[in-house]
């Protein structure tokens, strides 16, 4: 049943990897098992919970539903890629301050989904946030603190943006 392995190369969090893998291996298993990026979590393995969400060329995808070979040549961001030199990303910081997590198992998936949302829509309405997060399941928080976290993160990111552009001008 094992089939011929296939060589792929991809970049994850700015680091280039090459791997020789079975075509049936999921992207989640590649990230977690082969590349030891275990921050990407697997909650359902059938595409419903969103825990395994990563960014593939900037778009949120479910790593449990994709085959690793489909990511050949792609550039990925996982939760491990959010911080810079040990500095938390403002979204991570906002989740801490607003208690947007309890067990934290869903959190990497939420962080990356929020990251995509705020890239595209820096000042989202609550409805937009609900829309974007409608496919992410959190069993612990009841989502209210997550909403508060997203609002705080959006504000912080906008402020940082404004500060940067006023400095630049």
């Amino acid at each position: 049943m094992t089939t011929q392995k296939k060589a792929i190369s991809l970049s994850v969090n700015g680091i280039s990897y090459e791997a020789s893998i079975e075509p049936r291996m999921t992207l989640a298993d590649l990230l977690r098992g082969e590349l030891v990026l275990t921050g990407t979590h697997v909650g359902c393995e059938h595409g419903v919970c969103g825990a395994c969400t990563v960014l593939l060329d900037g778009r949120a995808v479910r790593a449990c539903l994709m085959l690793a070979v489909q990511a050949d040549g792609a550039s990925l961001t996982t939760v491990e890629g959010l911080e810079t030199d040990g500095e938390l990303h403002p979204i991570q910081q906002a989740f801490i301050e607003e208690h947007g997590l309890q067990c934290g198992f869903c959190t990497p998936g939420f962080l990356l989904t929020v990251h995509e949302l705020l890239e595209n829509s820096p000042d989202p309405s609550d409805d937009e946030v609900r829309d974007a997060l409608g496919g992410q399941i959190c069993r612990c928080t009841g989502y209210q603190a997550i909403l508060r976290s997203v609002r705080l993160a959006a504000t912080r990111l906008r402020d940082a943006q404004a500060a940067a552009s006023s400095q630049g001008s």
Binding site: M25, T78, V79, L88, E97, C140, G142, Q144
Partner: protein
């Protein structure tokens, strides 16, 4: 040595505490938000194999043959186990009720869909899954019993033949003169309720790495377990090992809510590592396994409830008949869910007498597990509907109906009919708070306007109790032994004054490491950065149970503060020796050891600790030179259950009132929550932010219970909800924003006055939503008595009511 645990923050040796009682950031979070927390599936051991489990596709069948020969030939397969190995190396597990267990893999027949039949350990999970597909099992179908009422009939197929019956337990408890109360009542109301199976569904499934040491004859288990100690003792019993030969290393869990389960899977994995000569074997339950064969399912209940009521609205008697479908065995201790209601049987009310007619039955379904709340939530859901039914008939406002029957605030500590004692409360203040916060009169006006427009809008006003700090004695009637649940902590200071807190439980979501840090930081007047919380395995941790039964916040506070007090006493004695004074003349003040009334005579904590470590020759001869102390906390005053099951069991009683407004769409049966308001009293809030998180999370789970979540079985015991496409969890779109208020009546029985609060709104939310739905349905003449009140159920109910009125 008797230890005085601080009763309030004022008793701390710190003039300006900064952390306890504040919503501080959690120490757990930086690891979690960066993906660094070591969940069990992240762990890789040298030589580790991966397990896959072959499970029964049918609910009841005799196994007439298992052929593993093809699987054995597959390259990469190291070990295969079946029921034969289970018989050879293990025993059925401890259960509740006792002796309702079977081996971890089917030995002669399968008893439910999802029961393990064989398992493989291989180089990776892919190969292991390939291998189980090569195993051929011959099943000879047996008649299935998937209905608890049928399971009780004579001639029903038996789930466990040796028992001679499917009835696991049948008992009637009478607390007071119940018949008399019903005879003397002005009105008696009776209704039936159905609560369908649902369950915990933590986002992380269960996982374990088992390693057998063939030389020592010992087993090491790394697992995402809630109570490592309890888990280890159970495994020792299963494998016939001395308890000091089973070591459990707890790993952080991605949620648990009581329903993490995993004992069967662990036992299967342990057989695999033994068969593989001691190679470590990892088993990560997948979601389908969790949903069909894991710790996923709880509370499968058929109720008939009667209320004896006086014309003035006083409730004088409660009679609850419960038939609970426990599934195939008692291995997951699901039966304790049926007896925990004794801890709060009559809710927040003064109902003086009560009866509980309890039947627990085995069927060909997955054995029930615990779930957040452990059984009272369905009980309260039924009780609160009865309160509404009575109020409606008496034309009393539902809020006033509750008020009339509340235990008055000066009656605490108050012993309820079923024997438990409530510590404290001010239920009217909570009710008033909720009515004010929700602007109840205005809600009623809005409802009247909506009704005038022909819309189905309803309001639920509901109150319930959250029993906190569980004790084993609460479960005596289903065969659980013992009283007292220890929780220990060690507080240790190093030579530079840095502090470690050693505990016996793994990280969960409730922020307990933060709580321990808050307590120690304030006690010794240090910062969060000076403290580390260290979880230890069962061989090295102080005695501990860990989270469960709304207990750990209170128990851990007791343990940590007890250890702090003991350590303070030690430091004071050492300092007194160095000052050449009596210990009574020395004190710990803001983190320094000072001579009372002698300005300038003082030492910093690190100085004293340094002396203890480096100059034990200077210490009083009887003093242990380690600058650390361990304290094991248990709840005081717990009593043995009497012949009617009555005991002082749960130590605290938190209380809440929820006011909910919903709209039911009569065309679709869909329910929309328009307003959600909660006021609760769980005593002192040690970290208000995490308490709020527990409330919000448990409201969401309550919404799931009331409207969405249900495990569906067909009459052949086939489960129809084996993915999250079918078993519906609440998403961000189903959970509304809530208005929240608090009342604080500190518990007189706990350190700092905190009450158990982790299970929270799960006790109240399902009842509140169902009440609101029923209020909405009044004009239609319909009454919902089944949860989840799913769109199809409500739609059918409404259609039936319409047909009835049209027929009149």
């Amino acid at each position: 040595m008797s230890v005085e645990i601080p009763k309030t923050l004022e008793d701390f040796p710190n003039s300006s505490p900064r952390f306890v009682g504040r919503g501080v950031d959690r120490v757990e979070d930086p690891h979690l938000v960066t993906g660094r927390t070591e969940f069990i599936d992240n762990v890789v051991l040298p030589g580790m194999l991966h397990a896959a489990i072959l499970r029964s596709p049918v609910a009841h069948a005799r196994i007439t043959g298992i052929d593993v020969s093809e699987a054995e030939k597959l390259p990469g397969v190291f070990a295969i186990v079946t029921g034969e190995d289970a018989k050879r190396w293990s025993f059925p597990p401890p259960t509740a009720p006792e002796e309702w267990g079977t081996h971890c893999m089917a030995t002669d027949k399968v008893r439910y869909v999802g029961e393990p039949v064989a398992a493989v350990a291989a180089v990776d999970r892919y190969v292991a899954e390939d291998a189980i597909e090569l195993i051929a099992v011959d099943y000879e179908p047996l008649e299935v019993v998937a209905d608890p009422a049928k399971a009780m009939e004579p001639g029903s197929p038996l789930v466990i033949e040796e028992k001679g019956t499917n009835v696991m337990l049948q008992r009637v408890f009478n607390w007071g003169e119940v018949d008399e109360a019903f005879r003397d009542a002005d009105r008696v109301f009776t209704e039936k309720f159905r609560w369908n199976r649902l369950g915990a569904n933590p986002l992380e499934t269960f996982g374990v790495i088992a390693q057998w040491d063939p030389v020592a004859g010992s087993l090491t288990l790394r697992a995402s377990v809630q109570s490592a100690t309890h888990f280890g003792l159970g495994r020792a019993a299963v494998f016939g090992l001395p308890s000091n030969k089973v070591r459990v290393i707890g790993h952080p869990h991605g949620g648990s809510f009581g329903g993490k389960g995993g004992t069967r899977g662990t036992d299967v994995t342990a057989l695999l590592t033994r068969k593989a000569g001691g190679r470590p074997v990892k088993w990560i339950e997948d979601r389908a396994e969790y949903l069909t064969g894991g710790g996923s399912q709880s509370w499968d209940r058929h109720y008939e409830v009667s209320l004896a009521v006086k014309d003035d609205g006083r409730v004088t008697g409660l009679d609850v008949k419960l038939l609970d479908d426990m599934g195939a065995t008692g291995e997951c201790f699901g039966a304790i869910n049926t007896v925990k209601p004794l801890a709060a049987f009559t809710g927040p009310y003064t109902i003086p007498v009560a009866r509980y007619d309890l039947t627990i039955v085995a069927t060909n379904k997955l054995p029930q597990s615990p779930y957040r709340g452990m059984g009272p939530p369905p009980h309260f859901c039924a009780l609160e509907q009865m309160m509404d039914i009575a109020a409606r008939d008496l034309e009393i406002d539902p809020a006033e109906m509750r008020r009339k029957n509340f235990i008055p605030k000066d009656a605490f500590p108050y012993t309820i009919a079923s024997g438990n004692e409530y510590d404290s409360g001010d239920y009217e203040a909570v009710l008033d708070g909720a009515l004010e916060l929700s602007d109840y009169p205005e809600l009623r006006e809005r409802q009247a306007r909506a009704r005038a427009e022909g819309r189905c809008v309803g309001i639920g006003v509901v109150s319930a109790i959250e029993p906190g700090v569980f004790d084993w004695n609460a479960y005596a009637i289903v065969g659980v032994q013992g009283i007292g649940v220890p929780e220990g902590a060690t507080v240790s200071i190093d030579i530079l004054g840095k502090i470690s807190i050693r505990v016996g439980f793994a990280l969960e979501g409730q922020g307990q490491y933060t709580l321990a840090t808050q307590l120690v930081a304030d006690y010794f007047n240090v910062g969060f950065e000076d403290i580390t919380v260290v979880p230890l395995d069962t061989f090295s941790a102080p005695p501990a149970f860990g989270p469960g039964g709304s207990r750990l916040g209170v128990a851990l506070t007791g343990a940590v503060l007890g250890a702090c007090e003991k350590l303070r006493a030690k430091l004071v004695r050492v300092a007194a020796g160095l000052f050449q004074m009596d210990p009574e003349q020395v004190d710990l003040v803001d983190g320094n050891l000072v001579a009372k009334g002698v300005p300038g005579v003082e030492m910093s904590m690190p100085q004293v600790v340094g002396t203890m470590l480096a100059r034990s020759d200077l210490l009083p001869p009887d003093i242990d030179p380690r600058p650390e102390a361990t304290y094991v906390w248990t709840a005081a005053g717990r009593t043995e259950a009497d012949e009617e099951g009555r005991a002082k069991s749960y130590l605290t009683a938190a209380q809440a009132v929820h006011v909910v407004m919903v709209e039911v769409d009569p065309e679709t049966g869909l329910v929309e929550i328009l307003e959600y308001c909660v006021v609760d009293d769980c005593g002192t809030r040690l970290n208000p932010a995490t308490v709020e998180g527990q409330t919000e999370g448990s409201i969401a789970q309550g919404i799931g219970a009331a409207l969405l979540e249900e495990y569906v079985y067909d009459d052949q015991g086939q489960i129809l909800t084996s993915s999250y496409m079918d078993y519906l969890l609440p998403t961000i779109n189903e959970v509304p924003a809530t208005k929240k208020g608090i009342v604080v009546t500190p518990s007189p029985f706990t350190p700092l006055g905190a009450k158990g609060c982790g299970e929270g709104a799960m006790h109240t939310t399902p009842a509140a939503i169902l009440s609101a739905i029923n209020d909405a349905l009044v004009p239609l003449g319909a009454r919902a008595t089944e949860v989840p009140a799913s769109p199809n159920r409500l739609w059918n109910l409404i259609r039936g009511a319409k047909e009835r009125t049209a027929g009149e």
